[in-house]
Subunit: 178 residues, 2 copies
């Protein structure tokens, strides 16, 4: 089974949860501008299923900040590349409502399309903390903890994380098929 | 000839330049996440050409701010809907390098794909000014002027504007074909 991604961090996270028999395959596919990661994943699978021989999955995720009307949402990776965590913190200056959630959607194809969603609720930190993980990890504090994802080891973050939850659902689905 | 857009402002702008025989047709098409509006337009046309009977054009534009590494770029409309002009000004607080450009790409289909690009260079204002136009118009001051696009009438803005320039190129192309 292939995990279609160009992101090694995501691949490493996936192996821990879904298992070692995943191969990373870096093929690019069109990501549409949509409001939800589900739509992005579905469109990607429709494109890839014509081009890949075998079962595969993709993952799309985003950080949705309540006070910013869901921004950066499905454009999280672009926003990260341009304005980064510094930009997000600047937008959140003086904002007291700091609720946010990470959403991850895993889209799996085995002849049919299966969509698994994982969420991780929390708040936006007031400063960048920690150097683990990637992306917005150092500014996101999950519910029930005081540390950011950037201050947690990968295994620990997987317990909480949106991507961990979505991947676990994929794993359960795969187990149910054996 | 159809202008495929759901934006009445854009349609009104186009009629002034290209001519009155344009019909507005509001069909949605996939907009991909890409670095340039050219890629977005090309992908959109490939999708639409199978579905529309007759010649048509689409337009994709964005505001590229130098100090923000091109943000909000091709995601301008999403960013506008979420963080708005207030968000952009907040990101630009304390930033002295305020150069920005609007880019508009018109993609025309008449059996072949033609791409026309227009640019409008300027700077990001320090505050929101004017209520003409739409989107980022009230925070963009074009080179050679002291007013924002939001303080200009449509006809005047068209002289300067990225969209005006791209539409003019389309008009010239159409004239050359008669």
């Amino acid at each position: 089974m292939f995990f279609i991604t160009g992101n090694k961090h995501k691949y490493e996270e996936a192996k821990i949860i879904v298992g070692n028999d995943i191969e990373m395959l870096s093929i690019s596919y069109p990501e549409i501008q949509a409001d939800t990661p589900e739509e992005v994943a579905r469109y990607g699978i429709e494109y890839l299923k014509e081009r890949i021989d075998g079962n595969f999955f993709i993952e799309d995720s985003g950080l949705f900040i309540e006070a910013l009307n869901g921004f950066p949402g499905v454009y999280s990776s672009y926003v990260f590349r341009t304005i980064g965590n510094e930009g997000i913190l600047k937008l959140m200056e003086g904002v007291e409502k700091r609720k946010a959630q990470f959403v991850s959607v895993v889209g799996y194809y085995d002849g049919d399309i299966h969509i698994f969603r994982g969420e991780s609720k929390g708040v936006i930190a007031y400063e960048i903390k920690g150097s683990e993980g990637f992306g917005y990890d150092p500014i996101f504090i999950p519910e029930g903890d005081k540390r950011t994802f950037g201050e947690m080891k990968r295994e620990e973050k997987n317990l909480f994380s949106h991507r961990g939850k979505a991947m676990k659902k994929l794993k359960e689905y795969l187990a149910s098929r054996i």
